[in-house]
């Protein structure tokens, strides 16, 4: 029983860290730009496909795919922010959601045109493709790797935002863009940079998903972006700390649900979100006025 629980916990942690990788970019973009980027799942999907294409072109080298694949997605993100999103910042949330949802549909169709409508089976990662024995049971090495990557990304983000001047300027611009501009900050370029960085996080999640999910399919970003939204809501929209802990909770809840209450798996996630919204609408770490 104990080893079963340990394994369910590990599976939950790896799933949670996956959702965190996607939710972190979503949260960063919402926290700084105030935009609910529904297209974030599409960037995750593009990350997976570009990573796959690069790694296939470079002799099945997963790591090169992971480094260069997301950079192509960043270029796409740059064009989306610079030529589309920038014009809806001052509009109400529904306009931002409509625009970003349009990009979900556009990117899904583009993926079908470029990579085909069928699914692509993903390669394994050399050195991380096997399993290790934990308490007498086998656990995928790659999942352990994901459990390690998640906190590293969290730590890196925290250090970048709290301990560097670029981070302080971003925080200043996010709390008061007008005053930051009056002090000399080129706010539109800061926003572009933050958006592209958020897209990179989503695409990195997609790239890391290539060996994890097994199959790449058009529309693969839709379910994870919904989970990422749930996580962002539970943690408090715009709060990275909230997204991290929210992702852990959802990952564990989902893993325990799958193991012990398989018929209620997704139900548990959404009932938790509903309860949090009723009890604390701003989420665990959100500001009440946001």
């Amino acid at each position: 029983m104990l080893e079963s629980i340990v394994h369910v916990c590990l599976a939950g942690l790896s799933q949670g860290m996956f959702i965190w990788l996607v939710a972190s970019g979503l949260t960063l973009i919402f926290g700084v730009l105030g935009v609910l980027n529904f297209a974030h799942g599409a960037f995750y999907m593009l990350g997976a496909y570009f990573c796959y294409t690069v790694l296939a072109a470079l002799g099945d080298n997963f790591w090169l795919g992971l480094i260069f694949g997301p950079l192509f997605v960043c270029a796409v993100g740059f064009l989306v922010e610079r030529y589309f999103l920038r014009y809806v910042y001052h509009l109400d949330l529904p306009y931002q959601l409509l625009l970003t949802f349009a990009f979900v549909l556009i990117f899904d169709d583009l993926v079908k045109i470029v990579w085909g409508a069928g699914s692509i089976s993903s390669p394994t990662v050399p050195g991380l493709g096997g399993s290790v024995s934990i308490m007498g049971r086998m656990f995928p090495t790659y999942s352990l790797f994901i459990i390690a990557v998640g906190p590293l990304v969290a730590l890196g983000l925290w250090a970048a935002l709290e301990r560097t001047w670029a981070g302080r300027i971003i925080r200043a611009a996010s709390s008061d863009r007008e005053m930051a501009a009056a002090l000399g900050a080129k706010v539109p370029w800061i926003f572009t940079g933050v958006f592209v960085f958020g897209v990179w996080l989503g695409a990195l999640g997609g790239g890391l998903a290539v060996p994890y999910v097994g199959l790449l399919t058009p529309g693969m970003g839709e379910s994870i972006v919904i989970e990422a939204f749930v996580v962002a809501v539970i943690g408090g929209l715009g709060s990275l700390k909230g997204a991290f802990f929210g992702a852990l909770i959802i990952g564990l809840l989902s893993s325990f649900g799958t193991r012990f209450l398989p018929s209620f798996d997704m139900f548990l996630t959404f009932i938790l979100m509903a309860l949090v919204l009723l009890w604390r609408p701003q989420g665990f770490f959100g500001e009440a006025s946001r």
Binding site: R168, R171, E178, L183, A185
Partner: protein, 233 residues
């Protein structure tokens, strides 16, 4: 003139707020914009800074036309702004609020963090306190200090004396005198005639978005008709 406005018109939506405003500030001068609440003082400063760009008219800064420049360009050219609502970054410490201004715009000059903290010693005491937790008076000093950190050529101060206890108003007037003694040009908007008389050389009176009177501060002070008509509350 280091800063001049020529026939500036500014709108908020369809409301015509500034109507053909023309004014000038000479190098090293302290000039006051006087007028009651809602007459266009804040809009004038926001228009100069580029936060509410003018629909027509010219803004000349150091001989250069800047009416179409975004605020960050104006900051780099040497304009700084203390808003009436102070706009301290709540999430940054007192010291970070000062440092960020110097990080964003690096201009050579007299002012640095040490000098700002010796001008307002309370900022040194509150160094590590988050902006969120500072008092109104401290925020006022921090917002003014932050405006100095980039060593601007002209600093725009919106309502420097508003909402402060008389003792702090005196501290602020002394600070403005010190700032000016180091060669800074100041354009301030304020309702407090006594305060403006103490710190300013000249004044413009605004009423309903138009300049209705201008003159030396002493002349404005002595002109009871003008004071009663435009400034009496």
């Amino acid at each position: 003139m280091i800063l001049s406005l020529v026939d500036v018109n500014t709108f908020y939506g369809t409301s015509h707020i500034l109507q053909d405003i023309s004014l000038g500030v000479g190098q090293g001068e302290v000039v006051a914009l006087l007028g009651r609440n809602g007459v266009g003082k804040t809009t004038t400063l926001r228009t100069i800074m580029g936060l509410t760009p003018p629909a027509s008219g010219g803004i000349l800064f150091q001989g250069q036309e800047v009416q179409g420049d975004p605020p960050w360009n104006k900051a780099k050219l040497g304009l700084a702004y203390m808003p009436d609502d102070l706009r301290i970054f709540p999430d940054l410490t007192c010291e970070e609020n000062l440092d960020i201004a110097a990080k964003l715009v690096k201009r050579e000059g007299f002012w640095d963090k040490k000098k700002v903290m010796s001008l307002f010693p309370v900022l040194a005491e509150r160094r590590d306190q988050k902006g969120l937790n500072m008092s109104g008076g401290e925020k006022k000093m921090l917002s003014l200090g932050r405006a100095l950190m980039s060593n601007p050529a002209v600093v725009l101060l919106d309502e420097p004396s508003e909402g402060l206890a008389p003792l702090i108003v005196r501290t602020l007037a002394e600070a403005i005198e010190t700032i000016r003694s180091h060669g800074m040009t100041i354009l301030l908007a304020d309702q407090n005639l006594k305060f403006c008389r103490r710190v300013s050389d000249r004044g413009y009176i605004i009423e309903k978005g138009q300049i209705v009177h201008e003159g030396d501060m002493e002349d404005i002070w002595d002109n009871q008709d003008v004071v009663n008509k435009y400034l009496a509350l």
